[in-house]
Protein backbone atom coordinates (compact mmCIF):
# COMPACT_ATOMS: atom_id res chain seq x y z
CA UNK A 1 0.00 0.00 0.00
CA UNK A 2 1.47 3.30 -1.05
CA UNK A 3 -1.14 5.58 0.49
CA UNK A 4 -1.68 5.47 4.23
CA UNK A 5 -5.16 4.20 5.02
CA UNK A 6 -7.63 6.46 6.70
CA UNK A 7 -7.43 5.62 10.44
CA UNK A 8 -11.21 5.70 10.86
CA UNK A 9 -11.67 3.38 7.92
CA UNK A 10 -9.01 0.98 9.14
CA UNK A 11 -10.48 1.05 12.67
CA UNK A 12 -13.95 0.21 11.40
CA UNK A 13 -12.66 -2.38 8.94
CA UNK A 14 -10.82 -4.14 11.78
CA UNK A 15 -14.09 -4.39 13.70
CA UNK A 16 -15.87 -5.60 10.61
CA UNK A 17 -13.23 -8.24 9.86
CA UNK A 18 -13.26 -9.50 13.45
CA UNK A 19 -17.05 -9.83 13.39
CA UNK A 20 -17.17 -11.32 9.91
CA UNK A 21 -14.44 -13.90 10.49
CA UNK A 22 -15.98 -14.97 13.79
CA UNK A 23 -19.37 -15.33 12.12
CA UNK A 24 -17.99 -17.29 9.17
CA UNK A 25 -15.81 -19.41 11.45
CA UNK A 26 -18.79 -20.33 13.59
CA UNK A 27 -20.73 -21.25 10.46
CA UNK A 28 -17.92 -23.58 9.37
CA UNK A 29 -17.61 -25.31 12.74
CA UNK A 30 -21.39 -25.55 13.01
CA UNK A 31 -21.54 -27.35 9.68
CA UNK A 32 -19.01 -29.88 11.00
CA UNK A 33 -21.50 -30.91 13.67
CA UNK A 34 -23.58 -32.41 10.85
CA UNK A 35 -20.78 -34.20 9.04
CA UNK A 36 -19.84 -37.82 9.56
CA UNK A 37 -16.82 -38.17 11.87
CA UNK A 38 -13.81 -39.81 10.31
CA UNK A 39 -13.11 -41.87 13.43
CA UNK A 40 -12.90 -45.65 13.05
CA UNK A 41 -13.57 -47.18 16.44
CA UNK A 42 -10.94 -49.90 16.27
CA UNK A 43 -11.05 -52.62 17.48
CA UNK A 44 -14.48 -53.30 18.95
CA UNK A 45 -17.00 -51.03 17.21
CA UNK A 46 -16.44 -51.62 13.51
CA UNK A 47 -18.95 -51.87 10.73
CA UNK A 48 -16.95 -54.72 9.15
CA UNK A 49 -13.77 -56.59 10.17
CA UNK A 50 -10.74 -54.38 10.01
CA UNK A 51 -8.99 -56.78 7.60
CA UNK A 52 -11.65 -55.96 5.01
CA UNK A 53 -11.13 -52.23 5.43
CA UNK A 54 -7.45 -52.36 4.46
CA UNK A 55 -6.49 -51.15 0.99
CA UNK A 56 -5.56 -53.36 -1.96
CA UNK A 57 -2.03 -54.80 -1.84
CA UNK A 58 -1.75 -54.34 1.91
CA UNK A 59 1.47 -55.91 3.21
CA UNK A 60 0.76 -57.63 6.51
CA UNK A 61 2.57 -60.44 8.28
CA UNK A 62 4.22 -62.96 5.90
CA UNK A 63 2.83 -66.43 5.45
CA UNK A 64 4.23 -69.43 3.57
CA UNK A 65 2.36 -72.45 2.21
CA UNK A 66 4.84 -75.31 2.49
CA UNK A 67 2.73 -77.34 0.09
CA UNK A 68 3.98 -75.04 -2.66
CA UNK A 69 7.47 -74.23 -1.37
CA UNK A 70 10.25 -75.95 -3.28
CA UNK A 71 12.94 -74.92 -0.85
CA UNK A 72 14.79 -72.83 -3.43
CA UNK A 73 15.89 -70.28 -0.77
CA UNK A 74 15.23 -67.38 -3.15
CA UNK A 75 13.21 -65.55 -0.55
CA UNK A 76 15.78 -65.80 2.21
CA UNK A 77 18.58 -64.67 -0.10
CA UNK A 78 16.51 -61.76 -1.40
CA UNK A 79 15.60 -60.57 2.07
CA UNK A 80 17.72 -57.48 2.81
CA UNK A 81 17.66 -58.01 6.55
CA UNK A 82 17.77 -61.79 6.74
CA UNK A 83 14.58 -62.30 8.62
CA UNK A 84 13.75 -65.55 6.81
CA UNK A 85 15.70 -68.61 7.92
CA UNK A 86 15.28 -71.82 5.90
CA UNK A 87 17.08 -75.13 6.31
CA UNK A 88 16.68 -77.83 3.67
CA UNK A 89 18.36 -81.21 4.15
CA UNK A 90 18.36 -84.43 2.15
CA UNK A 91 16.70 -87.29 3.98
CA UNK A 92 19.23 -90.16 3.94
CA UNK A 93 16.48 -92.80 3.82
CA UNK A 94 14.15 -91.47 1.17
CA UNK A 95 16.81 -89.47 -0.71
CA UNK A 96 14.30 -86.63 -0.92
CA UNK A 97 14.91 -83.02 0.07
CA UNK A 98 13.11 -82.00 3.23
CA UNK A 99 12.61 -78.59 4.76
CA UNK A 100 13.28 -78.78 8.47
CA UNK A 101 13.11 -75.12 9.33
CA UNK A 102 11.19 -72.17 7.86
CA UNK A 103 11.26 -69.30 10.36
CA UNK A 104 10.21 -65.74 9.73
CA UNK A 105 11.17 -63.18 12.34
CA UNK A 106 8.29 -60.71 12.05
CA UNK A 107 9.99 -58.39 14.51
CA UNK A 108 12.84 -57.93 12.05
CA UNK A 109 10.68 -57.94 8.93
CA UNK A 110 10.23 -54.51 7.41
CA UNK A 111 7.37 -55.59 5.13
CA UNK A 112 9.16 -54.53 1.95
CA UNK A 113 7.65 -57.38 -0.06
CA UNK A 114 10.82 -58.33 -1.93
CA UNK A 115 10.54 -61.99 -0.85
CA UNK A 116 7.03 -62.32 -2.24
CA UNK A 117 8.26 -60.83 -5.52
CA UNK A 118 11.10 -63.34 -5.61
CA UNK A 119 8.99 -66.42 -4.90
CA UNK A 120 8.38 -68.22 -8.15
CA UNK A 121 6.02 -70.80 -6.73
CA UNK A 122 3.23 -68.75 -5.20
CA UNK A 123 4.21 -69.98 -1.75
CA UNK A 124 5.11 -66.78 0.10
CA UNK A 125 2.50 -64.09 0.53
CA UNK A 126 1.70 -61.07 2.62
CA UNK A 127 -1.51 -61.58 4.58
CA UNK A 128 -3.80 -58.79 5.75
CA UNK A 129 -3.02 -59.64 9.36
CA UNK A 130 -1.22 -56.94 11.31
CA UNK A 131 -2.21 -57.48 14.93
CA UNK A 132 0.96 -58.96 16.40
CA UNK A 133 1.13 -57.70 19.96
CA UNK A 134 3.16 -59.94 22.20
CA UNK A 135 4.79 -59.96 25.60
CA UNK A 136 8.18 -61.06 24.33
CA UNK A 137 10.18 -60.29 21.25
CA UNK A 138 11.37 -63.91 21.09
CA UNK A 139 7.83 -65.06 20.48
CA UNK A 140 7.68 -63.04 17.29
CA UNK A 141 9.67 -65.65 15.35
CA UNK A 142 7.10 -67.66 13.45
CA UNK A 143 7.96 -71.33 13.00
CA UNK A 144 6.16 -72.58 9.93
CA UNK A 145 7.69 -76.09 10.07
CA UNK A 146 6.47 -78.22 12.94
CA UNK A 147 7.99 -81.48 11.67
CA UNK A 148 10.30 -82.05 8.68
CA UNK A 149 8.34 -82.28 5.47
CA UNK A 150 9.20 -83.02 1.89
CA UNK A 151 9.52 -79.99 -0.37
CA UNK A 152 7.14 -79.56 -3.26
CA UNK A 153 8.47 -80.75 -6.59
CA UNK A 154 6.33 -78.76 -8.99
CA UNK A 155 7.98 -76.79 -11.80
CA UNK A 156 8.00 -73.05 -12.25
CA UNK A 157 4.85 -71.89 -13.96
CA UNK A 158 2.79 -74.90 -12.92
CA UNK A 159 -0.24 -73.88 -10.90
CA UNK A 160 0.07 -74.74 -7.29
CA UNK A 161 -2.95 -75.73 -5.26
CA UNK A 162 -2.28 -73.11 -2.66
CA UNK A 163 -4.33 -72.78 0.48
CA UNK A 164 -6.09 -69.37 0.65
CA UNK A 165 -3.88 -66.52 1.78
CA UNK A 166 -4.37 -65.92 5.47
CA UNK A 167 -5.61 -69.39 6.33
CA UNK A 168 -2.28 -70.76 7.57
CA UNK A 169 -1.05 -67.82 9.61
CA UNK A 170 -3.54 -67.89 12.52
CA UNK A 171 -2.55 -71.32 13.81
CA UNK A 172 1.17 -70.58 13.39
CA UNK A 173 0.78 -67.30 15.24
CA UNK A 174 -1.24 -69.02 17.92
CA UNK A 175 1.48 -71.61 18.52
CA UNK A 176 4.25 -69.03 18.66
CA UNK A 177 2.49 -66.21 20.51
CA UNK A 178 0.91 -68.11 23.33
CA UNK A 179 4.22 -68.95 24.93
CA UNK A 180 5.33 -67.72 28.29
CA UNK A 181 7.57 -64.71 28.41
CA UNK A 182 11.14 -65.86 28.05
Amino acid sequence: MSKKANPVVSYLSTIWRAMFSTFEGLAVTFSWLFRRPITIQYPDRLEKPVQEMLPEGYRGILEVDLGCCTGCLLCSTTCPIDCIAIQVVKNPETKKREVIRFDIDIAKCMYCGLCTEACNFDALHHTRQFEGTNVSRNNLVLHFVKEPREVSSHKKGEPCNRRPVGSILPEVMKDCFDQEEG
Binding site: I15, F23, G25, L26, A27, F30, F34, R36
Partner: protein, 427 residues
Protein backbone atom coordinates in the same frame (compact mmCIF):
# COMPACT_ATOMS: atom_id res chain seq x y z
CA UNK B 1 -35.77 -17.48 48.77
CA UNK B 2 -36.92 -14.74 51.16
CA UNK B 3 -40.44 -15.00 49.82
CA UNK B 4 -40.41 -18.76 50.14
CA UNK B 5 -39.12 -18.48 53.72
CA UNK B 6 -41.95 -16.07 54.55
CA UNK B 7 -44.41 -18.48 52.99
CA UNK B 8 -43.03 -21.29 55.20
CA UNK B 9 -43.35 -19.14 58.31
CA UNK B 10 -46.90 -18.25 57.39
CA UNK B 11 -48.11 -21.70 56.44
CA UNK B 12 -46.12 -24.07 58.64
CA UNK B 13 -46.06 -21.97 61.80
CA UNK B 14 -49.13 -19.80 61.22
CA UNK B 15 -47.27 -16.55 61.87
CA UNK B 16 -48.41 -13.75 59.60
CA UNK B 17 -45.82 -11.15 60.61
CA UNK B 18 -42.41 -12.77 60.13
CA UNK B 19 -40.53 -9.67 61.28
CA UNK B 20 -41.80 -9.70 64.86
CA UNK B 21 -41.69 -13.48 65.32
CA UNK B 22 -38.68 -14.35 67.51
CA UNK B 23 -37.84 -17.62 65.74
CA UNK B 24 -38.00 -16.43 62.16
CA UNK B 25 -34.19 -16.21 61.95
CA UNK B 26 -34.07 -19.98 62.40
CA UNK B 27 -36.20 -20.45 59.31
CA UNK B 28 -34.10 -17.92 57.41
CA UNK B 29 -30.90 -19.70 58.47
CA UNK B 30 -32.34 -23.03 57.39
CA UNK B 31 -33.30 -21.57 54.03
CA UNK B 32 -29.83 -20.08 53.63
CA UNK B 33 -28.18 -23.45 54.23
CA UNK B 34 -30.71 -25.10 51.92
CA UNK B 35 -30.05 -22.53 49.17
CA UNK B 36 -26.27 -22.96 49.52
CA UNK B 37 -26.53 -26.74 49.28
CA UNK B 38 -28.87 -26.43 46.31
CA UNK B 39 -26.52 -24.04 44.50
CA UNK B 40 -23.43 -26.18 45.15
CA UNK B 41 -25.30 -29.24 43.91
CA UNK B 42 -26.33 -27.34 40.82
CA UNK B 43 -22.75 -26.21 40.15
CA UNK B 44 -21.50 -29.75 40.60
CA UNK B 45 -24.04 -31.36 38.31
CA UNK B 46 -23.63 -28.59 35.76
CA UNK B 47 -19.83 -28.35 35.70
CA UNK B 48 -19.40 -32.11 35.47
CA UNK B 49 -21.61 -33.05 32.51
CA UNK B 50 -20.80 -29.87 30.62
CA UNK B 51 -17.20 -31.08 30.36
CA UNK B 52 -18.57 -34.13 28.58
CA UNK B 53 -20.74 -31.96 26.34
CA UNK B 54 -17.79 -29.77 25.48
CA UNK B 55 -15.58 -32.71 24.63
CA UNK B 56 -18.26 -34.29 22.47
CA UNK B 57 -18.89 -31.03 20.62
CA UNK B 58 -15.14 -30.50 20.24
CA UNK B 59 -14.84 -33.99 18.86
CA UNK B 60 -17.54 -33.52 16.26
CA UNK B 61 -16.13 -30.17 15.17
CA UNK B 62 -12.75 -31.87 14.68
CA UNK B 63 -14.37 -34.79 12.84
CA UNK B 64 -13.81 -37.06 15.84
CA UNK B 65 -16.32 -38.62 18.22
CA UNK B 66 -15.17 -37.57 21.68
CA UNK B 67 -15.45 -39.67 24.81
CA UNK B 68 -18.10 -42.35 24.35
CA UNK B 69 -17.01 -45.32 26.44
CA UNK B 70 -17.77 -44.61 30.11
CA UNK B 71 -21.45 -45.10 30.73
CA UNK B 72 -24.13 -44.53 28.10
CA UNK B 73 -22.49 -42.52 25.29
CA UNK B 74 -19.62 -41.67 27.60
CA UNK B 75 -21.89 -39.56 29.75
CA UNK B 76 -20.18 -40.69 32.95
CA UNK B 77 -16.76 -39.60 31.72
CA UNK B 78 -16.79 -36.65 34.09
CA UNK B 79 -17.30 -38.97 37.08
CA UNK B 80 -14.40 -41.12 35.95
CA UNK B 81 -12.18 -38.06 35.54
CA UNK B 82 -13.19 -36.71 38.94
CA UNK B 83 -12.57 -40.04 40.67
CA UNK B 84 -9.21 -40.33 38.97
CA UNK B 85 -8.20 -36.90 40.19
CA UNK B 86 -9.36 -37.71 43.71
CA UNK B 87 -7.04 -40.71 43.75
CA UNK B 88 -4.02 -38.77 42.50
CA UNK B 89 -1.30 -37.69 44.89
CA UNK B 90 -1.73 -34.16 46.17
CA UNK B 91 1.70 -32.69 45.51
CA UNK B 92 2.93 -29.40 46.91
CA UNK B 93 6.30 -28.31 45.52
CA UNK B 94 9.14 -28.03 48.02
CA UNK B 95 9.82 -24.39 47.30
CA UNK B 96 6.17 -23.39 47.19
CA UNK B 97 4.59 -21.04 49.69
CA UNK B 98 2.48 -23.69 51.37
CA UNK B 99 -0.34 -21.62 52.98
CA UNK B 100 -0.87 -19.51 49.87
CA UNK B 101 -0.59 -22.54 47.62
CA UNK B 102 -3.35 -24.27 49.55
CA UNK B 103 -5.49 -21.16 49.83
CA UNK B 104 -5.47 -20.20 46.13
CA UNK B 105 -7.95 -22.80 44.77
CA UNK B 106 -10.37 -21.91 47.56
CA UNK B 107 -10.30 -18.24 46.60
CA UNK B 108 -10.83 -19.02 42.93
CA UNK B 109 -13.71 -21.28 43.73
CA UNK B 110 -15.27 -18.92 46.26
CA UNK B 111 -15.09 -16.07 43.75
CA UNK B 112 -16.90 -18.13 41.16
CA UNK B 113 -19.40 -19.61 43.55
CA UNK B 114 -20.18 -16.28 45.20
CA UNK B 115 -21.78 -15.10 41.97
CA UNK B 116 -24.38 -17.88 42.26
CA UNK B 117 -25.93 -16.09 45.23
CA UNK B 118 -27.64 -13.51 43.05
CA UNK B 119 -28.20 -15.48 39.83
CA UNK B 120 -31.96 -15.69 39.26
CA UNK B 121 -32.80 -19.25 38.26
CA UNK B 122 -36.57 -18.79 38.35
CA UNK B 123 -39.37 -16.55 39.45
CA UNK B 124 -38.54 -17.02 43.14
CA UNK B 125 -35.49 -19.19 42.71
CA UNK B 126 -32.70 -16.87 43.76
CA UNK B 127 -30.56 -17.38 46.84
CA UNK B 128 -30.64 -13.68 47.76
CA UNK B 129 -32.18 -10.88 45.73
CA UNK B 130 -29.61 -8.22 46.67
CA UNK B 131 -30.40 -4.66 45.63
CA UNK B 132 -26.76 -4.32 44.46
CA UNK B 133 -26.85 -7.61 42.54
CA UNK B 134 -24.81 -6.72 39.46
CA UNK B 135 -22.27 -4.75 41.47
CA UNK B 136 -21.99 -7.75 43.78
CA UNK B 137 -21.29 -10.07 40.85
CA UNK B 138 -18.57 -7.78 39.51
CA UNK B 139 -17.05 -7.45 42.98
CA UNK B 140 -17.12 -11.07 44.07
CA UNK B 141 -15.75 -12.41 40.79
CA UNK B 142 -12.70 -10.15 41.30
CA UNK B 143 -11.72 -12.59 44.03
CA UNK B 144 -10.84 -14.96 41.19
CA UNK B 145 -8.03 -12.62 40.08
CA UNK B 146 -6.56 -12.77 43.56
CA UNK B 147 -6.78 -16.55 43.58
CA UNK B 148 -5.14 -16.94 40.18
CA UNK B 149 -2.32 -14.54 41.03
CA UNK B 150 -1.88 -16.29 44.38
CA UNK B 151 -1.67 -19.67 42.66
CA UNK B 152 0.91 -18.34 40.24
CA UNK B 153 2.99 -16.66 42.92
CA UNK B 154 2.84 -19.45 45.51
CA UNK B 155 3.86 -22.15 43.03
CA UNK B 156 7.37 -20.68 42.81
CA UNK B 157 7.50 -21.51 39.14
CA UNK B 158 8.13 -18.97 36.43
CA UNK B 159 5.50 -20.45 34.13
CA UNK B 160 2.87 -20.34 36.86
CA UNK B 161 3.85 -16.78 37.72
CA UNK B 162 3.58 -15.71 34.07
CA UNK B 163 0.14 -17.28 33.92
CA UNK B 164 -0.93 -15.54 37.11
CA UNK B 165 0.34 -12.15 35.97
CA UNK B 166 -1.23 -12.54 32.57
CA UNK B 167 -4.57 -13.45 34.08
CA UNK B 168 -4.40 -10.45 36.39
CA UNK B 169 -3.68 -8.07 33.52
CA UNK B 170 -6.42 -9.66 31.45
CA UNK B 171 -9.13 -9.87 34.09
CA UNK B 172 -8.52 -6.36 35.41
CA UNK B 173 -8.67 -4.94 31.89
CA UNK B 174 -11.71 -6.85 30.79
CA UNK B 175 -13.71 -6.00 33.88
CA UNK B 176 -14.14 -2.52 32.44
CA UNK B 177 -15.98 -3.46 29.21
CA UNK B 178 -17.97 -6.04 31.18
CA UNK B 179 -19.05 -3.45 33.71
CA UNK B 180 -19.77 -0.88 31.00
CA UNK B 181 -21.95 -3.21 28.96
CA UNK B 182 -23.81 -4.16 32.14
CA UNK B 183 -24.22 -0.45 32.77
CA UNK B 184 -26.41 -0.32 29.68
CA UNK B 185 -28.79 -2.70 31.42
CA UNK B 186 -28.66 -0.73 34.65
CA UNK B 187 -29.65 2.40 32.74
CA UNK B 188 -32.56 0.64 31.06
CA UNK B 189 -33.83 -1.26 34.08
CA UNK B 190 -33.07 1.47 36.60
CA UNK B 191 -31.89 -1.08 39.15
CA UNK B 192 -28.93 -3.28 40.05
CA UNK B 193 -31.04 -6.09 41.49
CA UNK B 194 -30.95 -9.15 39.27
CA UNK B 195 -34.59 -10.05 39.83
CA UNK B 196 -35.72 -6.51 39.10
CA UNK B 197 -33.71 -6.53 35.86
CA UNK B 198 -35.54 -9.65 34.76
CA UNK B 199 -38.86 -8.10 35.75
CA UNK B 200 -38.07 -5.00 33.70
CA UNK B 201 -38.11 -7.24 30.63
CA UNK B 202 -40.86 -9.55 29.44
CA UNK B 203 -41.49 -13.05 28.27
CA UNK B 204 -41.78 -12.24 24.57
CA UNK B 205 -38.64 -11.50 22.53
CA UNK B 206 -39.67 -7.91 21.78
CA UNK B 207 -39.62 -7.22 25.53
CA UNK B 208 -36.04 -8.46 25.89
CA UNK B 209 -33.34 -5.89 26.41
CA UNK B 210 -31.26 -7.31 23.57
CA UNK B 211 -33.85 -6.18 21.01
CA UNK B 212 -34.67 -2.90 22.77
CA UNK B 213 -32.50 -0.80 20.47
CA UNK B 214 -29.36 -1.16 18.31
CA UNK B 215 -27.06 -0.22 21.18
CA UNK B 216 -28.31 -2.92 23.52
CA UNK B 217 -28.03 -5.37 20.65
CA UNK B 218 -24.38 -4.41 20.29
CA UNK B 219 -23.86 -4.39 24.05
CA UNK B 220 -25.02 -8.02 24.24
CA UNK B 221 -22.22 -9.16 21.94
CA UNK B 222 -19.71 -6.92 23.70
CA UNK B 223 -20.73 -8.41 27.04
CA UNK B 224 -20.38 -11.96 25.79
CA UNK B 225 -16.96 -11.15 24.29
CA UNK B 226 -15.61 -9.56 27.42
CA UNK B 227 -17.03 -12.27 29.68
CA UNK B 228 -15.21 -14.82 27.50
CA UNK B 229 -12.04 -13.00 28.49
CA UNK B 230 -13.18 -12.79 32.11
CA UNK B 231 -13.67 -16.53 32.21
CA UNK B 232 -10.29 -17.28 30.59
CA UNK B 233 -12.04 -18.95 27.69
CA UNK B 234 -10.62 -19.31 24.21
CA UNK B 235 -9.77 -17.07 22.31
CA UNK B 236 -8.73 -15.20 25.45
CA UNK B 237 -7.18 -18.10 27.36
CA UNK B 238 -3.73 -16.56 27.61
CA UNK B 239 -3.29 -17.37 31.33
CA UNK B 240 -3.24 -21.05 30.41
CA UNK B 241 -1.79 -20.87 26.93
CA UNK B 242 -0.35 -24.37 26.81
CA UNK B 243 1.95 -23.66 23.88
CA UNK B 244 3.65 -20.83 25.75
CA UNK B 245 3.21 -21.49 29.46
CA UNK B 246 2.88 -25.30 29.64
CA UNK B 247 -0.35 -24.92 31.63
CA UNK B 248 -0.31 -21.48 33.21
CA UNK B 249 -1.08 -20.65 36.83
CA UNK B 250 -2.19 -24.19 37.69
CA UNK B 251 0.92 -25.96 36.45
CA UNK B 252 2.21 -27.03 39.88
CA UNK B 253 -1.16 -28.25 41.06
CA UNK B 254 -2.23 -31.86 40.98
CA UNK B 255 -5.16 -34.02 41.99
CA UNK B 256 -8.24 -32.40 43.46
CA UNK B 257 -6.62 -28.99 43.91
CA UNK B 258 -5.99 -28.86 40.18
CA UNK B 259 -9.53 -30.01 39.50
CA UNK B 260 -10.94 -27.15 41.54
CA UNK B 261 -9.45 -24.63 39.13
CA UNK B 262 -11.12 -26.40 36.24
CA UNK B 263 -14.30 -26.80 38.27
CA UNK B 264 -14.40 -23.03 38.80
CA UNK B 265 -13.77 -22.49 35.10
CA UNK B 266 -16.72 -24.67 34.10
CA UNK B 267 -18.94 -23.09 36.74
CA UNK B 268 -17.97 -19.73 35.31
CA UNK B 269 -19.30 -20.91 31.96
CA UNK B 270 -22.75 -21.04 33.51
CA UNK B 271 -22.27 -17.69 35.23
CA UNK B 272 -21.40 -15.88 32.00
CA UNK B 273 -24.29 -17.53 30.20
CA UNK B 274 -26.65 -16.68 33.07
CA UNK B 275 -25.57 -13.04 33.14
CA UNK B 276 -26.13 -12.79 29.39
CA UNK B 277 -29.51 -14.44 29.80
CA UNK B 278 -30.95 -12.44 32.66
CA UNK B 279 -29.55 -9.12 31.45
CA UNK B 280 -30.39 -9.36 27.77
CA UNK B 281 -32.51 -12.40 26.92
CA UNK B 282 -35.40 -11.93 29.32
CA UNK B 283 -34.16 -14.30 32.01
CA UNK B 284 -36.79 -16.65 33.38
CA UNK B 285 -39.77 -14.65 32.11
CA UNK B 286 -42.55 -16.92 30.90
CA UNK B 287 -44.31 -15.59 27.76
CA UNK B 288 -47.83 -14.55 28.65
CA UNK B 289 -47.41 -14.83 32.43
CA UNK B 290 -46.61 -11.68 34.35
CA UNK B 291 -44.21 -11.99 37.30
CA UNK B 292 -46.74 -10.28 39.54
CA UNK B 293 -49.18 -13.11 38.93
CA UNK B 294 -46.60 -15.61 40.20
CA UNK B 295 -45.98 -13.39 43.22
CA UNK B 296 -49.69 -13.20 43.93
CA UNK B 297 -49.97 -16.97 43.67
CA UNK B 298 -47.40 -17.38 46.45
CA UNK B 299 -48.85 -14.63 48.62
CA UNK B 300 -52.44 -15.84 48.26
CA UNK B 301 -51.92 -19.57 48.64
CA UNK B 302 -52.49 -20.87 52.13
CA UNK B 303 -51.02 -24.29 51.69
CA UNK B 304 -49.55 -26.07 48.72
CA UNK B 305 -50.07 -24.48 45.32
CA UNK B 306 -49.36 -26.73 42.40
CA UNK B 307 -49.71 -23.93 39.86
CA UNK B 308 -47.00 -21.98 41.68
CA UNK B 309 -44.68 -25.01 41.62
CA UNK B 310 -45.46 -25.56 37.97
CA UNK B 311 -44.70 -21.96 37.05
CA UNK B 312 -41.46 -22.08 39.02
CA UNK B 313 -40.39 -25.18 37.16
CA UNK B 314 -41.40 -23.62 33.84
CA UNK B 315 -39.50 -20.41 34.56
CA UNK B 316 -36.43 -22.41 35.53
CA UNK B 317 -36.73 -24.48 32.36
CA UNK B 318 -36.94 -21.33 30.21
CA UNK B 319 -33.93 -19.84 31.94
CA UNK B 320 -31.96 -23.08 31.62
CA UNK B 321 -32.74 -23.41 27.90
CA UNK B 322 -31.60 -19.85 27.13
CA UNK B 323 -28.47 -20.20 29.26
CA UNK B 324 -27.64 -23.61 27.79
CA UNK B 325 -27.85 -22.13 24.32
CA UNK B 326 -25.35 -19.46 25.29
CA UNK B 327 -23.13 -22.12 26.88
CA UNK B 328 -23.19 -24.01 23.61
CA UNK B 329 -22.21 -20.92 21.64
CA UNK B 330 -19.33 -20.26 24.02
CA UNK B 331 -18.18 -23.87 23.64
CA UNK B 332 -18.39 -23.58 19.88
CA UNK B 333 -16.35 -20.37 19.89
CA UNK B 334 -13.64 -22.25 21.78
CA UNK B 335 -13.25 -24.66 18.88
CA UNK B 336 -13.51 -21.97 16.22
CA UNK B 337 -11.12 -19.16 17.01
CA UNK B 338 -7.36 -19.30 17.59
CA UNK B 339 -5.82 -17.71 20.67
CA UNK B 340 -5.00 -14.00 20.60
CA UNK B 341 -1.53 -12.65 21.20
CA UNK B 342 -0.94 -10.66 24.40
CA UNK B 343 -0.74 -7.31 22.62
CA UNK B 344 -3.78 -8.17 20.51
CA UNK B 345 -5.63 -9.01 23.71
CA UNK B 346 -4.90 -5.62 25.20
CA UNK B 347 -5.64 -3.83 21.91
CA UNK B 348 -8.97 -5.64 21.65
CA UNK B 349 -9.89 -4.46 25.11
CA UNK B 350 -8.66 -0.88 25.29
CA UNK B 351 -8.94 0.22 21.68
CA UNK B 352 -12.10 -1.57 20.67
CA UNK B 353 -14.24 -2.96 23.47
CA UNK B 354 -14.01 -0.05 25.92
CA UNK B 355 -14.82 2.69 23.36
CA UNK B 356 -17.61 0.60 21.88
CA UNK B 357 -19.21 -0.01 25.26
CA UNK B 358 -18.98 3.71 25.97
CA UNK B 359 -20.73 4.39 22.67
CA UNK B 360 -23.39 1.89 23.74
CA UNK B 361 -23.94 3.70 27.03
CA UNK B 362 -24.23 7.07 25.30
CA UNK B 363 -26.48 5.61 22.65
CA UNK B 364 -28.81 4.04 25.19
CA UNK B 365 -28.95 7.31 27.13
CA UNK B 366 -29.78 9.23 23.95
CA UNK B 367 -32.40 6.70 22.94
CA UNK B 368 -33.98 6.84 26.40
CA UNK B 369 -34.21 10.63 26.12
CA UNK B 370 -35.38 10.87 22.51
CA UNK B 371 -37.74 7.94 22.14
CA UNK B 372 -40.60 7.62 24.62
CA UNK B 373 -40.82 4.21 26.27
CA UNK B 374 -43.72 2.12 24.97
CA UNK B 375 -44.45 4.46 22.06
CA UNK B 376 -44.96 3.50 18.44
CA UNK B 377 -41.41 4.40 17.49
CA UNK B 378 -40.07 2.33 20.39
CA UNK B 379 -41.95 -0.76 19.24
CA UNK B 380 -40.92 -0.09 15.65
CA UNK B 381 -37.26 -0.14 16.70
CA UNK B 382 -37.80 -3.31 18.71
CA UNK B 383 -39.43 -4.97 15.75
CA UNK B 384 -36.60 -3.86 13.49
CA UNK B 385 -33.98 -5.24 15.89
CA UNK B 386 -35.87 -8.55 16.03
CA UNK B 387 -35.79 -8.69 12.26
CA UNK B 388 -32.05 -8.01 12.33
CA UNK B 389 -31.52 -10.72 14.94
CA UNK B 390 -33.64 -13.20 13.01
CA UNK B 391 -31.82 -12.33 9.79
CA UNK B 392 -28.48 -12.95 11.48
CA UNK B 393 -29.61 -16.39 12.65
CA UNK B 394 -30.99 -17.19 9.19
CA UNK B 395 -27.78 -16.00 7.54
CA UNK B 396 -25.77 -18.11 9.94
CA UNK B 397 -27.77 -21.25 9.18
CA UNK B 398 -27.53 -20.52 5.44
CA UNK B 399 -23.75 -20.11 5.65
CA UNK B 400 -23.48 -23.35 7.66
CA UNK B 401 -25.57 -25.10 5.01
CA UNK B 402 -23.38 -23.70 2.23
CA UNK B 403 -20.30 -25.04 3.99
CA UNK B 404 -21.95 -28.42 4.37
CA UNK B 405 -23.08 -28.59 0.74
CA UNK B 406 -19.55 -27.77 -0.44
CA UNK B 407 -18.31 -31.05 1.01
CA UNK B 408 -21.36 -33.25 0.51
CA UNK B 409 -21.01 -34.45 -3.08
CA UNK B 410 -17.28 -35.03 -3.04
CA UNK B 411 -17.65 -37.01 0.18
CA UNK B 412 -20.32 -39.22 -1.35
CA UNK B 413 -18.14 -39.79 -4.41
CA UNK B 414 -15.06 -40.67 -2.40
CA UNK B 415 -16.53 -42.63 0.51
CA UNK B 416 -19.62 -44.07 -1.12
CA UNK B 417 -21.89 -43.02 1.73
CA UNK B 418 -23.74 -39.98 2.94
CA UNK B 419 -21.98 -37.17 4.78
CA UNK B 420 -25.10 -36.38 6.80
CA UNK B 421 -24.55 -37.27 10.42
CA UNK B 422 -26.48 -34.94 12.75
CA UNK B 423 -25.29 -34.43 16.34
CA UNK B 424 -28.37 -36.12 17.83
CA UNK B 425 -27.21 -39.35 16.15
CA UNK B 426 -24.75 -40.25 18.85
CA UNK B 427 -22.28 -43.02 18.23
Amino acid sequence: MRQIADWIILNLFGVADAGSWPYSWLVYLGMMVFAAVLAITFVAIFAGPVTWVERRVAGRIMSRLGPNRVGPQGFLQWLADGLKNLLKEDLIPDAADRPLFRLAPHLVWMGMFGAFVVLPFGAHLVAADLNVGLLYILAITSLVVLGLLMAGWASNSKWALYGGIRSTAQLVSYEIPTAFSLMVIVILAGTLSTQEIVRAQGGWPWDWFVFRNPFTFLAFFLLMTSSLAEGNRVPFDLPEAESELVAGYNIEYSGMRFLFFLFAEWANLWIMAAIGTFCFLGGWQIPGVSPDAIDALLARSHGWSWSWVGLQALSFAIFAIKASWLVFVVIQIRWTLPRLRVDQLMIACWKYLVPMTLVCILGVLAMALLIPQGGVLDYLIRGLMMVVGGALVALFLWRARVNYMLARDSYRKMEGRELWFPPYRLV
